[in-house]
Subunit: 206 residues, 2 copies
């Protein structure tokens, strides 16, 4: 797997795939770069560049073969076997994220959850054991987990992130409204609901 | 209120404010643009440009006065009175978003909720009445609501968005994993958890 692609390219490829799956379900066999571009709000030239980077090309007369393109994108984006994911923090948000997650991402599986609250750490949550957060360092490497979803309060987010990094986690989806500091080589994606809300509120008054 | 600022500037101003509130709580009275830039992962020149656009300036010797800067940013970003927000879709995710929201955003208030399920539409959710989604067109204008949070399934998201636009909504925070089509003048911010997950999964294997 080549990883000499930017974060933005990966994000766009993921968007293209989502659109292609819809298009395929609606019966499309071939699509042009400008069709993909319109549906994903980018330019046709950008689509062609991104797809060329994963060695996919279309023809001038018919465009891209949808099924082949889906295969190429999935081959590039997905791990060969399902990836295991840890979920940290089982408050309202963590439980909602878990419920939302189940069944949607066949290539990603939440196999461990962690919390600091003893009332939660002796239970199964959606059939998945919940451990004390202090076991994170040992359990993540044992289970080969390199990815985590962080749904802890903002005040705890950096401390928990440091634990995750020490536990070998290399990709984090963070829901806490804070900027996290991580070493080079660790990817953090913050789902910043507060900032999105404030931005939408601002423009809703424009 | 001037709105001749880009979406990115508004987003950065919102981030600066969050950092400044933390800094103020930790006792900082003055900060330089490079302090703000480091904490919010941008450049000092960008910070100065953004703050100049809202007529805030610091001094070369002491930087920006934190309390004054907070006042300027809030004056720019926030409505003079709390803004009312509609929440559409009260499944797991909608309820979690509501629970997460309450108490965090004093300037934004969820005052109406909507769902299509009759079991939900005769109840109070967090003290807020839940209406049938078909009342949206009438109720949003009556309550002066111009902003909505969308937590409906992907298959319903565009239909509901069209209803929202007809009901006068001008800012939408969308949690459904779809690209929404809206007329010019309507702002949509998609919290795209799926794309973020796939991106983090990709880089966690790098």
């Amino acid at each position: 797997m080549s990883v000499h692609v930017s974060e933005r390219s990966v994000r766009r490829l993921s968007l293209y795939r989502r659109f292609l799956l819809h298009a395929q379900a609606s019966g499309s066999c071939y699509l042009f770069s400008h069709d993909i571009a319109t549906a994903t709000r980018t330019s046709a030239a950008q689509v062609r560049r991104d797809l060329m980077a994963i060695s996919s090309s279309g023809t001038a007369s018919r465009g891209y073969h949808v099924a082949d393109l889906l295969k190429s994108i999935s081959h590039f984006l997905d791990a060969p076997a399902p990836q295991h994911v840890a979920l940290i923090g089982l408050g309202n948000l963590g439980r909602a994220v878990f419920a939302y997650f189940v069944g949607r991402h066949p290539n990603l599986r939440i196999t461990l959850t962690f919390d600091i609250d003893p009332a939660k750490t002796c239970r199964l949550i959606n059939g998945c054991p919940c451990h004390n957060i202090h076991e994170l360092n040992d359990l993540c490497p044992t289970h080969g987990i390199r990815m985590a979803i962080l749904t802890v309060p903002a005040t705890e987010a950096q401390t928990v992130t440091d634990m995750l990094v020490r536990g070998g986690i290399r990709g984090i989806v963070n829901f806490a409204p804070v900027t996290l500091y991580v070493p080079v080589g660790v990817f953090v994606e913050t789902m910043d609901f507060s900032i999105s809300l404030e931005t939408a509120a601002f423009f809703s008054r424009a």
